[in-house]
Structures are given as C-alpha cells and as structure tokens.
C-alpha cells in the first residue's frame, strides 16, 4: 500500500499542523512541504489538496488572504483561533491513532 493513501485519510490534520507550524502558506507550498517533509515518499495531489482546503475554510478554521507575487495572484491560507484549537485536537487524535496502530501491529495472541 502506498503511504500517500494513508496520509490522505489524515489530510486535514496534516494541513492544519503545517499551517500551525508555518503561519501562512499557499497551495503549492503545502504540496511541496508534504513532499519535502516526507523526503519524497509522500505526495498530495491538487485534486485532494484544494477540496480539503476549501472544506477547512468552509468549516471556519482557515482565513485567506491574497497577494500579488511574481506577477500573479497568490492565495495564502492561515489558521484562525478556532483553527489553532482544532489543529491541536486533530494532532492529538492522529498521534493516538498512530500509537494504537503500532500496538495493533505488534499484537500477538497469548495462546496463539
């Protein structure tokens, strides 16, 4: 199974955490951060990223601002107060899920 598929399930937590760590980011910067952060092992496509960003925006967790950069309009996303709180909650949930998964993977039946 490709790691991308596992990451996609936690995409909103990943986006929120990246924004929490880096302040504001634009779409392409987020895809690059995921790629570089995972040393090229994980990629998120635009098809997955933008719907996720818009959903977070609709949920009132993100704020956007636009700026002219290098002759084109760039849209930056950043967390608001509600987003920062949600980011911590989602990070806790993600870490708990990872820890549970590790325990499950190591589990052996006592009489097995």
């Amino acid at each position: 199974m490709e790691p991308d598929k596992i990451i996609k399930g936690s995409l909103s937590a990943v986006i929120l955490q990246l924004l929490n760590n880096n302040g504001r980011m634009y779409g392409y910067e987020i895809t690059r951060a995921v790629r570089e952060g995972s040393k090229g092992k994980t990629r998120i496509t635009e098809a997955a990223l933008y719907p996720a960003l818009h959903k977070l925006e609709e949920a009132g967790l993100l704020e956007t601002e636009t700026e002219w950069v290098d002759g084109r309009l760039r849209k930056y996303y950043k967390l608001n107060r509600k987003g920062r709180k949600e980011s911590l909650l989602q990070l806790d949930a993600l870490q708990e899920a990872i820890s549970s998964l590790q325990k499950i993977l190591k589990y052996r039946l006592k009489n097995g």
Partner: protein, 235 residues
C-alpha cells in the same frame, strides 16, 4: 542558483494553455485560482531542467496535476463559491427577518390574500379564477431562475451570478411543490380562505426571496468587480 521566475509573456502563455484545456477554466475566478499553482509547478520544472522549452514544461506541469488535469481544482473553487453564497443567503435571510421588510412583505401578502377573497366573492375571475393567481405565482417561481440566467446576468463572471441565482432558486422548491399540489387539487375540496391564505403566503415568501436574491446579486456584482480588477492586473 537564482529562482526561475516566469516573465509576463510566459505567464500569458500559461494563461492561454489553461484556457485551451476547457472553456470552464476561462471563468476568471477559476483561472486565477489555477494560475499560481500551475505557474509554481512550471517554474519548478524549468528550474530543475533549464534547457526545457516552456511548452514542454507546461505539458509536464499539467501532467503532474493527474488524469483529471485542472478539473478538481476548478470544482473545488466552484464549491467554495457556492458555499460562500449559501452562507450569505442565510445571513441575508436573518437580516431580512429582523428588518422592516418583513412587515412590508407581510402586508403585501395580506393584500394579495384579501384580493383573492374579494375576487372569489365577486366572481371576477370566474369559477376557478383564484387558481389562475396561484398558477401565475407558480410560473413566476419556476421561470425566474432560467430567465435571469438566460438573460446572461454578469456575462463575464457568470459563476458568481449563477451561484447566487442557484441558491435563491433552490429555496423556492418547497413553494413550487406546495402551490402545484393546490393547483392540481379539485377546487371544491378547498375553502376560499385556504386558497387566499396560500396566495398570501406565496406572495410573502416570493417577496422575501426576491429581496434576498437582489442582495446576493449585489454581492455578485462586487465579487465580479474585484475579480475583474485582479484579472486586469494580471495583464
């Protein structure tokens, strides 16, 4: 090594490339959303392979978007605009309910109901005349949306107007069903006051809806102006 930044001419070529993929991407709001991401990707490819032509870099960048190309991005952008207008509709609905407009439309509804009763009493409109009024309101509720869309409200920035109209139109569905049920019911089964009350309620609801629609269309005007200014700056 200096970061490769696309020139104005190259950005214009990118713009043409995006538009050439689908007429849907020519919509300025969508074009602006795709443009920066596509430009960043093309710049990265050109940075990694400086000898590559712009055409090839654009093709490679487009390929990296996946089999659906720019479509998911455009879809996400459209959904975001729709959600924004739906949020505004709810906000405007609350505003109208807290304003004097509700009183005005209430009086208009009462007047329509009274006229209906009077028409029934004096047999102005014949035996089934009241149903004619209901039918007119029903047709209005059905036709408003397609007529406004066909009139090309906001020809250049259709996306904003279409979303505003679509939300407003969606809210009239229950009215259509209600009035249709009354129209198809046999007139003998309903008391005149029930028909008059329905006409009054319909007039009130359509009035409120129309008021909110105009507020939404004004927001769409502002969105269109902002996008137009951004597009003009793009060159």
């Amino acid at each position: 090594m200096d970061k490769r930044i696309l020139t104005a001419d190259e950005l214009a070529a990118l713009r043409q490339f995006i538009i050439s993929r689908s007429a849907r991407f020519a919509e300025p709001a969508i074009l602006l959303e795709i443009m920066d991401h596509f430009a960043c990707k093309t710049e990265e490819i050109l940075q990694a392979e400086p000898g590559l032509s712009l055409d090839m870099a654009m093709k490679k960048a487009h390929h990296a978007f996946g089999v659906k190309g720019f479509a998911p991005l455009a879809e996400a952008c459209e959904k975001a605009i729709f959600s924004r207008y739906r949020h505004w509709y709810r906000q405007e609905l609350r505003n109208v309910w807290c304003s004097l407009h509700v009183l005005g439309f209430g009086l208009l509804g009462l007047l329509a109901a009274q006229l209906c009763l009077l028409a029934e009493k004096l047999a102005w409109l014949g035996e089934h005349g009241i149903y004619l009024i209901l039918f007119v309101e029903f047709v209005y509720a059905i036709c408003l949306y397609p007529i406004l869309v066909k009139a090309g409200y906001g020809k250049k920035h259709r996306i904003f107007y279409n979303k505003a109209l679509s939300i407003s139109n969606g809210r009239l569905s229950w009215l259509r069903i209600g009035s249709m049920l009354i129209i198809i019911t046999d007139s003998d089964r309903l008391a005149p006051w029930m028909v008059a009350a329905t006409v009054g309620l319909l007039t009130f609801s359509l009035g409120l809806n129309l008021r909110i629609l105009f507020q939404l269309l004004r927001k769409a005007d502002r969105d269109a102006d902002t996008t137009e200014a951004q597009l003009a700056s793009l060159g």
